[in-house]
């Protein structure tokens, strides 16, 4: 009985520390998603598929050249592209933003929602401030080949029991 409790405690400690680290990163970066994995090649050669980007969200003004991670209404996969146009209002400070992937030929208006011409602050999840190459491949493999995810969880479960 005590042995089972020990194993359960071990497992909860592992999961607990992972959650604590993730929440701490969320706090430090000010974003719901402090780390994202680059999924497409639209920002090559700067960022390749499988790279990890560190995000930071602050009240600082958004300017041309910034690399932003944003969500388009109705899509759940975030997009990582560069700002190529900024229009900031005199009175409210609100901004209209246009983005484009570095290696795309056209701007992102084709990706925005129907009739949407600009992005606003509330679409932005964060600004990329640093990156780690290749570190995101684990996530991509787990997402695109879910069988590996199940195999890993089964193996982890087995290790816990043995």
């Amino acid at each position: 009985m005590a042995w089972i409790l020990m194993k359960a405690l071990n497992l909860s400690m592992m999961v607990g520390s992972a959650v604590i680290i993730w929440k701490a990163l969320m706090c430090m970066s000010g974003s719901e998603s402090p780390v994202v994995v680059v999924l497409s090649g639209s920002m090559e050669p700067a960022f390749k598929r499988g790279d990890i980007l560190f995000l930071y969200m602050s009240k600082d003004p958004i300017r041309a050249g910034h690399i932003l991670v944003f969500n388009v209404d109705g899509r759940d996969i975030p997009i990582v592209h560069r700002v190529i146009e900024v229009h900031e209002r005199q009175d409210t400070g609100e901004v209209d933003i246009l983005t484009k992937g570095d290696s795309n030929l056209v701007d992102d208006r084709v990706l925005y929602a129907q009739d949407q011409l600009w992005l606003q602050r509330h679409h932005i999840m964060g600004r990329a401030i640093g990156f780690l190459p290749y570190a995101g491949w684990v996530t991509i493999i787990l997402t695109e080949k879910p069988i590996i995810k199940y195999v890993l969880i089964a193996a982890l479960g087995l290790l816990m029991i043995i």
């Binding site: 050249g65 690399i67 560069r82 146009e85 900031e88 209002r89």
Partner: protein, 167 residues
């Protein structure tokens, strides 16, 4: 204490920590670099300057763009993303930044360049404010490291002005 599992775990943790440390040091070494870039833009011709059907002004221009960004490159630099933005103020907007041209510089050899080009991206205002408008042409660059912290800076070139009338 000496099983394969424990040893593999210790080795892996040590290797990853060391890798992270090396990445951080590589990134910090970029701070030692003190760059001295230069840029110059000449607007050769206003190709056309019209009011679009949706009511917004649009202008097309041909420019000579030259720059020397070689001092930005360190051993930890993967590429430099450079772009030229027209920046101006209107009654409605305190700031408008419109990228007219951009390029990717993959290595130090390509960082000293001179190009003759019309604007790659359309210069369209939010409104009809461009007649006689004074604007800055600012060259921005973003240094993308092989690993670590990205940095950015710019050179502001003021004193450009659009024609008073559409043409």
């Amino acid at each position: 204490m000496h099983s394969f599992g424990y040893r593999a775990n210790a080795l892996l943790t040590f290797a990853i920590t060391l890798l992270a440390l090396m990445c951080a040091m590589a990134s910090l070494s970029d701070n030692l670099n003190s760059p001295s870039p230069s840029a110059h833009v000449q607007v050769l011709n206003i190709n056309w300057f019209q009011k679009q059907p949706n009511g917004n002004d649009e202008v097309s221009m041909t420019m000579n763009i030259s720059a020397d960004l070689q001092s930005l490159f360190t051993w930890n630099t993967k590429q430099v993303f450079v772009f030229l933005a027209a920046e101006y103020e209107t009654p409605k907007n305190s700031l408008n930044q419109i990228s007219l041209w951009d390029g990717i510089i993959p290595s130090k050899e390509h960082a000293k360049f001179w190009i003759h080009t019309s604007n790659k991206y359309r210069f369209i205002d939010q409104g009809r404010n461009l007649r006689g408008k004074e604007f800055n042409l600012t060259m921005h660059w973003h240094v993308m490291p092989k690993t670590g912290k990205m940095s950015a800076d710019k050179i502001v070139m003021p004193g450009y002005r659009l024609p008073e009338e559409y043409r």
